[in-house]
Point group: C2
Chain length 335, copies 2
Amino acid sequence: MPQLRKDPILGRWVIISTERAKRPKDFPHIESKPAQEDCPFCRGRETETPPEIFSIKDHNGNWRVRVVPSKTPFLNPNAELWKKGKGPYDLINAVGSHEIVIETPEHITNIADLGEDYVKDVLEAYCVRFKELGKDNRIKYVLAFKNYGWDAGGGRIGHARSQLIATPVNLKRVKEELEGAKSYYNRHERCIFCDIIRQELSEGSRIVLDEDGVVALVPFAPRFPFEVWVLPKEHSPDFYTVCERNIGGMARVFKKALLKIKVLLNDPPYNYVVHTAPFRRPYPGYWSTIEEDYHWHIEITPRLTRVAGFEWGSGFYICPTLPEETAKFLAETKV
Amino acid sequence: MPQLRKDPILGRWVIISTERAKRPKDFPHIESKPAQEDCPFCRGRETETPPEIFSIKDHNGNWRVRVVPSKTPFLNPNAELWKKGKGPYDLINAVGSHEIVIETPEHITNIADLGEDYVKDVLEAYCVRFKELGKDNRIKYVLAFKNYGWDAGGGRIGHARSQLIATPVNLKRVKEELEGAKSYYNRHERCIFCDIIRQELSEGSRIVLDEDGVVALVPFAPRFPFEVWVLPKEHSPDFYTVCERNIGGMARVFKKALLKIKVLLNDPPYNYVVHTAPFRRPYPGYWSTIEEDYHWHIEITPRLTRVAGFEWGSGFYICPTLPEETAKFLAETKV
């Protein structure tokens, strides 16, 4: 019998459609690896990207992870910030920045195939850029995400990379998550994510990994089959604090979760998004409880189904797998 | 220079990325027509679907449009409604219904290719089912939508059809839209959709069609390239009132808008969703202003880009076309 489950943070309902329940092998294989074309992200072709913003080097001075501006940026760091209205509409100049994090000098496609130390360097590069971008008072939020594979918007060049977009506005989805967490905190004086971690560890049925102070789990009301969230057990609203806290544990569990998805599901396309608190400068009042109520984490969403059309318009998701089953499959996958 | 635009109803920001601006021919052709397999929706194969719920017949007694239950329903009309909590989680039994509207007895794939009278019959079938489903006190909302083409979740059988899902809960996206409209009404005592229609008709640059009391336009802050909204000029919160008001005008403009998209963009996959007010029984207080503040309409979203990965996680959209340009292309397309 299908079931409706409510995401406790956002309040979005999801149909868990067990009538159409699927096992890992039932998903059609979606091609995720484009042909290797002339790749501007490989070692030795550094002049083909815009000038480097930041890099992490090995002891020989060769880069391991490299951050460059996007060649076709969505947002421009040199623009002047203006805002205006027109009738019922609001408009802002697209000030901000759009950067590419090149995750390895080798032509490797999936970050899941990189060593743990590279994954650690990628997280560290994010941290450094978050802190730097946060110094600009016009920037409200930095979104770190990856599109892997053609069907996840990963583009034609198969070289492991992710993106950082710094925006002059708060993003709707982020705001909703913050407000959901705040409203739970106002009622209970506890962080909802900490409560979820406790609940999940005590139930156990949706846990994929529980190692080194980091938990990977299938959420109670996932939007997508085999969706996985990776959360640090230690409470912190800000992603960039992982650098000083537990970057090794996070890198290890994050990489393992990605590799389990790759192995179990035949290297599917996926997205991941780092969920973190916004910079607090402009709204100290409104986000006064954010230190206690929000908890950063990473959400990984494999793109296994194309049956996702009307969800855009309705905010109503249909997930063809039982979360407890997918968690079991993932937990049992050896990596 | 890219621009950030805010959807005035939902408050969601969209980057209009003119740096990557695209013209209609720049979009790769995405296959939307699956091969004709044994089609259970064609005339003469009525026994292959579950028993008919409703149909509209011609004067010879042959069906023109037919509504049947889904063979693999997401929601079940015969289930008992229960709700329960478990730790921080909420759960509901999946009571409701899931129906298929077969839009023609011929094996025609795209509703855009049907005659205006068939499109009118499809809208009328929706109306009849809305009214009937609304009699069930457990049902809060009916979602009418279409997935056309493989990449829009349209499945393998290329026979024109759409879906009706009746749910025991209010959908998140619907609620947000209602709340956005209510908050605008509370401030201005005017319907935001009526204001948008007035603004658009006076600016003119985003209008695709303005005929028979119905407007088709590209929204100010679209999520997708060539997104089109179809709105009746006459204010009404409830879609099903179109039956008594202006079903002919709506069918004509809706069909023309779909055909323009087909002709201009080489028959792309698309979704459409009917946006209408929920049944008001359970919340007369909360939705007390809904008669004045909400305005039903249809949103059509072609699926031209796969670059839509991280939007799921961020609620932040990047649209690679300028709305004023796409409106011009669509307005100039002869159908």
